[in-house]
């Protein structure tokens, strides 16, 4: 009987000692929560997930208290698990905030890229205009709302004729060269007359003269799709038809250089 007691006592002491000396079993959810929650609390973006971080902290504190009081593992794991899940929610919210900020920065950056491109395009356009202007500097060129307008007086044609005079060739050579070098620029050729003669004959004459200039430019290598011809007759005088000088001004061919059509930047969508 005595020996039984001794055995039981020895076993009990051994059990107590082993319980005291054994390393406490590692609780994975609790360890995970202990790692995650403080990290999130330190995050500079903790504010976007304040409620979730607070919930995670409460659950972690509860889990720690339960662990200290050696409560049931299931109870500890329940609180620790909630702490981990709340921390994960907070983490995802922080990632969302980061990505949203990146998108906003990206949108601003996109506007900068577009603005730079527009600036470069404006400069290039200006250079092209300057180039064309320089090339045609000694001709009668005016900047108007319609674009650059070059007026060729009646020196190109004999009176009532649509055949180009030989004197016109030098001017046409230079015009053709300027158009070839600025192949993206379109030119509209308009024929105009004074009011001598009938409307119908003046209309026909203006059309033939415009076409004569168009043909001459095409013969000099200007692309067909770059130039178009139109007769305006006597309807758009630039001076009075009551004087010889005024009528001379009205007998003219104008070349209107339109602005270059740039290909639209595909990504420049709203």
């Amino acid at each position: 009987m005595k020996s039984d007691h001794r055995i039981i006592l020895s076993l009990a002491v051994a059990a107590v000692l082993s319980a005291c000396s054994a390393v406490p079993e590692r609780n994975e959810p609790l360890e995970a929560a202990r790692t995650m929650v403080p990290q999130l609390e330190k995050s500079p973006r903790a504010g976007v997930a304040a409620t979730d971080i607070s919930n995670a902290r409460k659950s972690l504190d509860a889990a720690n208290r339960l662990a200290e009081s050696k409560a049931k593992v299931t109870d500890i794991e329940y609180e620790a698990g909630n702490a981990v899940t709340s921390a994960q929610i907070a983490h995802e919210k922080i990632l969302t905030a980061e990505a949203t900020e990146e998108s906003a920065r990206g949108a601003a950056q996109r506007q900068v890229v577009l603005a730079e491109a527009r600036g470069r395009e404006a400069q290039a356009s200006e250079r092209r205009v300057e180039s064309l202007e320089a090339q045609l500097a000694d001709l009668k060129v005016k900047k108007t709302e319609r674009g650059l307008v070059l007026t060729l007086g009646d020196v190109l044609f004999d009176t009532g004729q649509a055949t180009l005079k030989s004197d016109a060739h030098g001017t046409l050579d230079r015009l053709a060269m300027a158009l070839r070098e600025n192949s993206a620029r379109k030119a509209l050729i308009e024929g105009h007359t004074d009011n001598v003669g009938s409307d119908v004959s003046n209309q026909g004459l203006s059309e033939r003269r415009a076409q004569a200039v168009q043909s001459a430019l095409m013969e000099r290598g200007v692309a067909r799709n770059q130039i178009s011809a139109l007769g305006k007759g006597e309807n758009f005088p630039v001076a009075t038809n009551d004087s010889a000088e005024g009528r001379q001004s009205n007998r003219r061919v104008e070349l209107i250089f339109t602005e270059e059509q740039q290909p639209r930047i595909a990504a420049d969508q709203p």
Partner: protein, 147 residues
Amino acid sequence: MNQSTPVRRQQTLPQASANHSSKNVVAVALGIGLFGTLSACSQVSTATKERVTETESWVQQTQQTLGNSEHGAVELQQAKEKLGSAKSAVEKGQEQQALRSATQAHLYADLAVAKSQSANARKTANDVLAGIDVLRQETERTTPTQR
């Protein structure tokens, strides 16, 4: 042997008494057990039931929000499983288990939504950044920087 007999008798009397009191203890324990069983069979509180119902609604809402998105799908499944546990616990009258499972289901549903939103935001950001590169290349092609 003769000396030991009275001793045994002396032991017998308290033993009888102990037997009697242990019967009482058993009876009390049985009573408590029966009470506990009856308590367990009783319904859980209205508040807990409402909590489970509310969680069910939230999980369904989350399901609709996520649709077929793969982001948050795992967490949504966990939410559904916990909701199932909560409902089962309600049927069994397990108050604490029902409440805990409902809480966990709610948290998993929250996590599913957060993961889905995070993935969407990341995709948007990546698209914006990739778009800038494309735009930069395209504008450089159409309007090259003067060097």
